[in-house]
């Protein structure tokens, strides 16, 4: 028997002899799977794919911001593994991370620009020169005729800071756009609005280590186990024997894993938190010293919640008053209570006030600025946090204000442009851009790395709206997205793994993402596409310094100088890599900023830093704010014709948003049902004769979708759940928006169910 690797194996693996000579223990097929020890701190790896070098790169899916070790052979990626040295994920990754390279080789990558042929009506390949000339001519023609309000762009939280900044700067300062927003409006706008008002700056205060140091962890509208599995890993590493409480209408994976699950009624959350605050105040369980020293508006807040007794809230929330009181007691008894929220809060009709109620709970109990505390928004996309600082949409670059002349002058000085090029007006938010598109007022739309036609709330109106555009450009990795199919011009973009840049994760950690794979065909990084557009538009002189992502990073650092997010102390990408990412702020030594966290004095930066340890906030008076409001009904309450609430959300850890990428991995596709599944409570199923496996139509006033029923008590009675990844789901959702953050309210609309007992699959 010739099986080389077995020769050296310990006697454990016995190799039988005798007539088994007929058995081939080795050969080409066996050798396919032979492993060998990898270098670079890797364990056994497939011999075929044993890397000759590795490169670290931050994952490009979610905001957890895991470090991946990309395995390279001959300078190109062949495999990857989770980086054990990266402080975020410590050697773990979720399935999307493990499969991050796979979507790059999908057959439907956009490899050349595509231009819609006016005669055939089809998207036809063209060269870059034609594409760029068309882009500039069309946009300019629209702007010349209808003015600067007639064009807009929709960006993303999926691109690195350097590209986001370039897109925003080119559009607003170079091309003269006024309006641009990003898909971060759909996920994080609420946290931004809430933090800005309460803390004076959009500043999630925490470090992931706070998961490990709390003795009470509240997860609110957050299915951490599947939406951020690596953060759940951090929860499991908690050393304080923490009590984990999940507040969510659904019995999610996280609710099952927690110690306690408070299944409140959908969108009764604001009242619920007011009632908890009421009970804390009634029992004197507040940290008056902290409130007096570091906050403002507490008295008004206390007066406002006085009417929301646990008894009154109980009926509305569908929970016993004792449960609400119990939570107040748990918060009171906890020494380090952390409050974490995600989309269940952010995507609500009064979401900003709800997030601010959570912040209020943390402030009034003094759970802020200490290890294991905080009112902590867990972000969505890999660079949602970067988009909040650098996308030049809602904020002027670097967390500045378009309406502030000093800010405009500062930004212009750093960029070396005339400050008058910076618009005085704020952009329209996403939903108003789409309304103006539908009204025919916006005639040119540039969509970059997002899939509006799938993801937008109430997306049934999108095809008609997009059809009104004179010019729709989609810049994407794939020419097959629902949005790209409707465009006039597709610009083929390189994806994650095919370009350099930096992402900022949920805990404000800036990490580097690297080019490790060649982009297919003539696809170009967004950075390079933007350089070309600047060139063709004749405004390249404004962007003379925008030559490489790292050069731009230097400018972004300069822009943050003196801001709460000051990162002038970072010395290039290498320093970021050597430190396993660096959290903002990191001012240059000697720079004064509005927080007193341990600023680095050694080359190594502390890997886990939180904000507000000194109780100083970013407001003018240094005090955090209590903000409250009158609770309101959801925009589309249930009624007789549509008696069921539709909840939408993440389906599995293997799916990402509109699945333009995760849909390309056969492995990820194996991890969720191939059919759309709707979760229905037994009490709602029974009257309809609905059983598991049966087809059911879910319809709202805007459309309907067929799904397979899964009868389960994991959804509350009177509600159904659909995963958001199926394109038909957002046909159902009702376009209502939080008035402060303009974030769509995906978590509540009215639907009805129709069972199809005999329908074939």
């Amino acid at each position: 028997m010739a099986h080389a690797w077995l020769d050296g194996a310990p006697p454990l693996m016995s190799a039988r002899t005798s007539f088994l000579q007929f058995r081939e223990f080795d050969g080409p097929l066996t050798r396919d799977l032979v492993q060998s020890p990898g270098q670079f701190g890797l364990g056994n790896v497939p011999d075929r794919l044993n890397p000759d070098s590795v490169r670290s790169s931050v994952c490009g899916f979610c905001s957890t911001g895991c470090g991946l070790k990309i395995h390279l052979r001959d300078n190109a990626a062949v495999n990857l593994s989770a980086d054990p040295a990266y402080p975020v994920n410590q050697g773990m990754a979720c399935p999307k991370g493990w499969e991050a390279l796979t979507p790059l080789s999908a057959p439907d990558r956009a490899t050349v620009p595509l231009l819609r042929d006016p005669v055939s009506g089809r998207l036809e390949p063209c060269d870059w020169d034609t594409a760029l000339q068309t882009f500039v001519l069309k946009i300019r023609a629209i702007m010349d005729r209808y003015g600067p309000d007639s064009v807009a762009w929709i960006g993303t939280g999926q691109m690195p800071n350097e590209e986001l900044a370039f897109l925003g700067a080119l559009a607003k300062f170079g091309l003269g756009f006024i309006h641009g927003d990003g898909n971060t409006r759909q996920c994080m706008a609420t946290a931004v609005a809430a933090y800005k008002e309460c803390f004076g700056f959009d500043a999630p205060p925490y470090t992931y280590e706070d998961f490990e140091e709390s003795d009470v962890i509240l997860l609110i509208g957050s299915n951490l186990c599947i939406a951020h599995p690596i953060l759940w890993q951090r929860v499991l590493r908690n050393r304080q024997n923490a009590k984990i409480i999940v507040i969510d209408p659904r019995r999610t994976e996280t609710a099952v894993a927690a110690h306690e699950h408070l299944a409140l009624k959908p969108k009764s959350d604001l009242i619920f938190f007011y009632a908890v605050a009421n009970d804390l105040i009634a029992n004197g369980w507040v940290d008056q010293r902290y409130i007096d020293a570091h906050t403002k508006g507490y008295r008004e807040f206390a007066a406002h919640v006085a009417e929301w007794t646990p008894e009154r809230a109980a009926t509305i929330c569908g929970l016993e008053a004792s449960v609400i009181r119990g939570l107040a007691r748990t918060i009171h008894e906890g020494k380090a209570v952390s409050f974490w929220w995600t989309m269940g809060i952010n995507q609500g009709h009064e979401s900003t006030r709800t997030a601010q109620a959570i912040i209020a709970l943390a402030l009034m109990t003094g759970n802020m600025g200490r290890p294991g505390t905080g009112a902590n928004s867990i972000t969505g996309q890999c660079n949602a946090m970067g988009s909040r600082l650098f996308s030049n949409t809602t904020n002027l670059l670097g967390g500045h204000d378009f309406t502030n002349e000093a800010h405009r002058k500062k930004v212009a000085r750093v960029l070396g442009i005339d400050w008058k090029r910076i618009p005085l007006r704020n952009s329209l938010p996403y939903h108003q851009i789409m309304e103006r598109v539908a009204a025919g007022e916006i005639k040119g739309l540039w969509i970059v790395a997002t899939n509006t036609a799938h993801s937008w709330i109430g997306n049934g109106t999108i095809p008609d709206a997009l059809a009104k555009l004179d010019f729709l450009v989609v810049q994407d990795m794939y020419h097959t997205t629902e949005t790209a199919r409707k465009s006039h011009l597709v610009l083929p973009a390189a994806g994650w793994g095919e370009k350099d840049g930096t992402f900022i994760n949920s805990e404000r950690r800036i990490g580097v993402t690297r080019a490790v794979s060649r982009a297919p065909g003539e696809a170009l990084s967004d950075f390079r596409i933007l350089r070309l557009i600047a060139h063709y538009a004749g405004c390249h002189h404004l962007f003379g310094r925008w030559t490489s992502p790292e050069a731009v990073f230097g400018m972004l650092q300069e822009l943050t100088c003196g801001q709460p997010c000051d990162i002038t102390g970072i010395d290039g990408y290498d320093m970021l890599e050597e430190n396993g990412g660096i959290q903002w702020p990191l001012p240059s030594p000697g720079m004064e900023i509005a927080t007193s966290s341990d600023v680095m004095s050694t080359p190594r930066v502390s890997n886990h830093r939180r904000l507000f340890e000194d109780g100083q906030f970013f407001t003018a008076d240094g005090r955090a704010r209590f903000v409250c409001d009158e609770p309101r009904e959801p925009a589309e309450p249930v009624d007789e014709s549509h008696p069921v609430v539709l909840l939408t959300g993440r389906g599995t850890s293997a799916q990402w948003h509109t699945e333009t990428r995760t849909g390309k991995s056969a492995i990820l596709q194996r991890m969720h049902p191939s059919e759309l599944i709707v979760e229905v409570h037994p009490d709602d199923a029974e009257p309809l004769g609905l059983t598991t496996g049966m087809w059911v139509t879910v319809s709202s006033r805007r459309g309907s979708v067929r799904a397979r029923a899964l009868v389960t008590s994991a959804v509350p009675e009177g509600a159904v759940f659909l995963p958001m990844h199926h394109p038909a789901v957002n046909v159902l959702t009702f376009p209502s928006f939080d008035p402060h953050s303009h974030q769509p309210s995906y978590k509540h609309c009215a639907v009805r169910l129709t069972a199809h007992p005999s329908a074939a699959p």
């Binding site: 492993q35 056994n44 040295a85 599995p229 894993a257």
Partner: protein
């Protein structure tokens, strides 16, 4: 500028820029997994096993993806899978993810079924290893494993499966799935094989709700949780309604070989060489079809090796004794040669053929698929032989005795099949119920045609032709062709509607 940027995009940054990485030696994966591996190697009577802590498994499915990546598997291939169990109980709202891989069974169905000894259950570790180069790609292990573990790879012509990352275990490193679990929910433990056997003895015991009875293969995996798993939990998407692979070569092989043996029996009763030709043609075609089913037909000569345990191996051996003498007899008859002992040879060939049909029945019976057990395979195949014999008799001598034989065969088939159908309809086994469901829906057309062909070819045409003063050759052959087509459809449905045992939520796509 355009050309410059296109060129820049195509160049990747040189490795040298990242040489710092070569110096950065992160902690190897060894140390922190020690808690997830047993402290010692298995003692006699023990083996390695996966232990899954259901309370810690929260549905991230990293294990599934890491298995694929760290083992360097094919695009769609992974040896671990994750399913979801939910509760309908109003008072017990629950959601339980289940991660599952090969159970490295104490009595492995894959190894017991393999005709070429391509499975090796390691004496010391208990790991059930697949010998990829030994495999001939017959797919039989995909049926004998009641957990759907071995997966066929058309690109390689073989199956592959989990080997518990034994190469990693050899280095003291944890398997890929164990390494990759952020919650530490998967461990390697030592189990006593006797304990696993004792636990599996109870007919009702299974690893999890919806999983196959453990008695079939005695799995070693342990699922542990604080509270026992409620038996009322149901899988999120019960894949047992999915159509199963058609296995066309097997369909043809079974029908042809059984009909051929029937025709040979007819020849021994009515020594008409046309029956002999029919028997030889059918048996020869059946054997040829069987070869087509293999991923690596050139290695088919090994198929005798598993005879001690594998019914497939025995089937191949018996048909190997049945077909060649039959072909020789037919060739001799065709050439007008008189062979010595022709009668004895024919009888021996027939005996081997009957043994072969029995083996065929056992091949499917031992899989323990509910729609294949007992008479559902054995009697079914025997009746096809009977029908084949009756049809051959009708073809060579379309007279009353042959008609009576046909009527008996057709009636027996109808009676048996309607009996099984009735049992399935009232069965509490969801696999049987789902099989009936697909026969009545997706497979409704072939299901009805099957009966139409059987009745037309086996009863109506012969019954009409007999009073008409004998049957024309065309008429007879049409009847025979309809019967054959009906049997082929029946056998197609036998495979397509045979819902396999599987783990809850197991999402392996079959490749036929």
């Amino acid at each position: 500028m355009l050309d410059e940027l296109l060129d820049e995009q195509r160049r990747l940054p040189a490795v040298e820029r990242f040489s710092a990485w070569h110096d950065r030696t992160a902690p190897g994966p060894g140390a922190r997994y020690s808690a997830l591996l047993p402290a010692s190697v298995p003692a006699p009577g023990q083996q390695y096993a996966f232990e899954v802590n259901l309370d810690a498994c929260t549905g991230c499915k990293a294990c599934v993806a890491a298995c694929h990546a760290l083992n360097g598997l094919e695009e769609h291939e992974t040896w671990r899978s994750a399913g979801l169990l939910v509760s309908e109980n109003r008072r017990h709202s629950h959601r339980q993810t289940v991660t599952t891989a090969c159970h490295h069974c104490v009595d492995p169905g894959c190894a017991n079924g393999c005709p070429v000894l391509a499975y090796e259950k390691d004496e010391n570790t208990g790991i059930v290893r697949h010998l990829d180069d030994q495999c001939i790609g017959c797919n039989y292990c995909t049926m004998t494993c009641s957990y759907g573990v071995p997966q066929y790879l058309p690109s390689r012509g073989i199956v592959r499966k989990c080997d518990m990352c034994r190469q990693r275990l050899d280095e003291g490193e944890a398997p890929a799935c164990v390494q990759a679990c952020p919650s530490g929910a998967i461990r390697i433990v030592l189990v006593e094989k006797a304990d696993a056997l004792a636990a599996a003895r109870n007919a009702d015991v299974s690893l999890l709700p919806g999983a196959p009875p453990s008695r079939i293969t005695v799995p070693s995996t342990r699922y542990v949780s604080r509270e026992p798993v409620a038996p009322t939990l149901i899988p999120e998407q019960d894949r047992s309604t999915e159509l199963q692979p058609a296995h066309w070569p097997l369909v043809l092989m079974l029908v042809f070989s059984q009909a051929g043996a029937g025709a040979l029996a007819t020849y021994l009763i009515l020594p008409d060489s046309r029956a002999l030709y029919a028997a030889a043609a059918l048996a020869g075609a059946g054997n040829a079809a069987a070869i087509l089913h293999l991923g690596r037909p050139l290695k088919a000569w090994r198929a005798w090796m598993g005879w001690r345990k594998s019914w497939l191996s025995r089937e191949i051996i018996t048909f190997g004794l049945h077909v060649p003498p039959l072909l020789i007899l037919a060739a001799a008859a065709w050439l007008g040669m008189k062979l010595p002992l022709a009668g004895a040879i024919a009888s021996l060939s027939l005996a081997a053929g009957i043994a072969g049909i029995f083996c065929s029945g056992m091949v499917y019976h031992v899989t323990q698929r509910p729609s294949w057990v007992g008479g559902r395979s054995l009697l079914r195949f025997a009746l096809t032989a009977l029908l084949g014999g009756a049809a051959a008799a009708w073809c060579v001598r379309p007279e009353t005795p042959a008609l009576i034989a046909l009527v008996i065969a057709v009636t027996a088939k109808l009676a048996a099949e309607s009996h099984w159908h009735r049992l399935a309809v009232v069965s509490e086994n969801p696999l049987l119920a789902n099989g009936v469901m697909v026969l009545n829906s997706t497979l409704g057309i072939p299901y009805r045609l099957r009966f139409l062909f059987l009745l037309t070819g086996g009863l109506f045409l012969p019954a009409f032709s007999l009073p008409a003063g004998g049957s024309s050759a065309a008429f007879t052959l049409t009847a025979a062709a309809l019967l054959l087509a009906g049997e082929i459809l029946e056998r197609l449905l036998f495979f397509r509607a045979a819902m396999p045992w599987h783990m809850p939520g197991w999402t392996a796509r079959h490749h036929s």
